[in-house]
């Protein structure tokens, strides 16, 4: 149900029945490695190419999410997926394997929450009993498509980020056990004229701040309502800028804990090659579906707001000197008892 200008309130309280996260070798070295369901030591995941490896990660996450709740793919009405590859091939190919009616979406790294918000909306409106939302990214496929060949020796600046290798899938259902999705805010595209693709944090921070402020305006609640607010992949640079923007707008973010998935997935002091932090579709997806849902289950957290951020540019657009338009989508996940 529409709430305010750009938000949905889910009165039927769709449930995240099951979720799964799969990651690569560098994420297994990170501080939250134990929360991921499958960790691969090999970037190729036993496949012949990195593109196949990325697809395999998503397939594994989808299969595991189904197995966990003893559902078969025939039970799922719709699969909503997206990724960073040209023509979102990883999701399309995974949908081919799954054989579930499929919606391909693209929101760059915001795809995780874009697909989850849509899945929740489908279930809430009665359009589906079970909907699956999933996304994936791979460090090497992203390097290949957006930057230089992976073995090319180019020096990265300290503002650069490191694409997470992994996949995250959630199954949203009308009823069952699990945390419920209560709200979502769909972001506007914000472009502050940043043109440097090695500085995505600075490009995306204003979009995250805009969506967060819109969320609290639309629902007329205070940030303190949530135990934790996380942004998707702003990294160290974008996180600092977002905090500065909240401060500048007199937005009371300090009422709650605010953090960023790109800072949680790696140990920035030890894994210095990640520079400013993690990025990619899988960054917010694996941290949310792996780490955060487990903390909700433990009761360590009760109400969280995940704000996945995405940069809607292509290698051609930045070579032509265009700035980087960015977007952020917010989804609120709560333990059933605490939902109001």
């Amino acid at each position: 149900m529409l709430q305010g200008h750009q938000s949905w309130r889910f009165d039927q309280q769709p449930v995240i029945l099951s979720a799964a996260s799969v990651v690569g070798p560098d994420e297994c070295e990170g501080p939250i490695a134990e929360d991921f369901d499958i960790g691969h030591g090999d970037l190729m995941v036993g496949q012949k190419s990195w593109e196949q490896a990325e697809k395999k990660l998503l397939e594994e996450a989808a299969t595991l999410a189904l197995e966990r709740v003893h559902l078969s793919k025939e039970n799922i009405q719709f699969f909503i997926g997206g990724d960073l590859m040209n023509q979102i091939i990883s999701s399309g190919f995974t949908a081919r394997t799954l054989g579930i009616p499929y919606f391909g979406v693209f929101g760059a790294c915001s795809t995780s929450m874009e697909s989850l918000a849509l899945a929740a909306q489908f279930v809430n409106s009665g359009s589906a009993k079970y909907a699956m939302a999933g996304t994936c990214s791979h460090n090497c496929t992203s390097e290949k498509q957006f930057r230089y060949p992976t073995e090319y020796g180019s020096q990265k600046p300290p503002t650069a980020q490191y694409t997470v290798t992994g996949a995250g899938v959630a199954i949203v259902a009308a009823e069952g056990d699990g945390p419920v999705i209560t709200r979502a805010t769909i972001g506007r595209v914000i472009d502050m004229g940043i043109t440097d693709p090695f500085n995505m944090g600075a490009a995306m921070a204003p979009a995250a701040v805009d969506t967060i402020q819109a969320h609290f305006r639309d629902f007329r609640i205070e940030p303190g309502y949530y135990d934790l607010i996380v942004t998707g992949d702003l990294g160290r640079v974008g996180y600092d800028i977002a905090n500065a923007l909240f401060d500048k707008h007199n937005f009371p973010i300090t009422q709650t804990n605010y953090y960023d998935c790109g800072l949680m997935i790696y140990d920035l002091n030890k894994q210095t090659f990640v520079n400013s932090g993690g990025s990619g579709c899988a960054c917010s997806a694996t941290v949310t579906y792996g780490h955060l849902l487990k903390r909700l289950k433990k009761g360590d957290l009760n109400r969280i707001l995940v704000v996945a951020t995405g940069a809607l540019f292509s290698p051609i657009s930045f070579q032509q000197g265009e700035s980087i338009p960015c977007i952020a989508h917010a989804v609120a996940i709560e333990n059933r008892g605490s939902a109001s």
Binding site: P149, E151, K156, P157, M192, A202, I241
Partner: protein
């Protein structure tokens, strides 16, 4: 109106400008001094190796000062290709920066890395078609620059 369309692409609004100033103040700057120092060490080391190879070819293999350049470059290219294939060169480059990019080893790395990267797309369209993706511009502008320098040399040569 024409003025507007012309300047549209570069036009930055006051809000964007204000934001960019704020963002700039919070971004860690590129460590330029450290990069220069490391580039000097790494670039110097590669050139020292080249010089040593050249002396070796002259002393032990009977090459002259003019001809020793060819086998030297071949060895450096081979070394760079091996290090690229082993996945070492890009890690070295993150430390060395321009120091490993400017010498001939950097050129070999750009060719080799692109060739490996696109191997899966086939020998012709993948490796062949993409090998010069990065090195192509070096060759094009290298040739153009060589032509310009050659012309200058020719003109001065006539006058002198």
């Amino acid at each position: 109106m024409r003025e507007f369309t012309k300047s549209k692409q570069k036009k930055v609004t006051a809000v964007q400008l204000e934001y960019q100033t704020l963002a700039k103040s919070l971004e860690p700057p590129r460590p330029v001094l450290r990069n220069c120092y490391r580039a000097f060490i790494a670039g110097g080391a590669i050139c020292f190796l080249g010089e040593a190879l050249m002396k070796m070819f002259q002393t032990y293999f009977g090459f002259t000062e003019q001809t020793a350049g060819n086998p030297t470059v071949a060895v450096l290219i081979l070394l760079s290709a091996i290090l690229t294939s082993l996945g070492v060169y890009d890690k070295l480059a993150q430390w060395a920066g321009a120091g490993s990019a400017v010498p001939v080893t950097g050129f070999a790395n750009s060719l080799c890395s692109a060739a490996i990267e696109h191997k899966r797309e086939g020998l012709v369209l993948g490796t062949g078609g993409n090998m010069f993706k990065l090195a192509g511009s070096v060759i094009v502008f290298g040739t153009v620059a060589a032509f310009a320098v050659g012309m200058i040399h020719w003109i001065i040569g006539i006058k002198g």
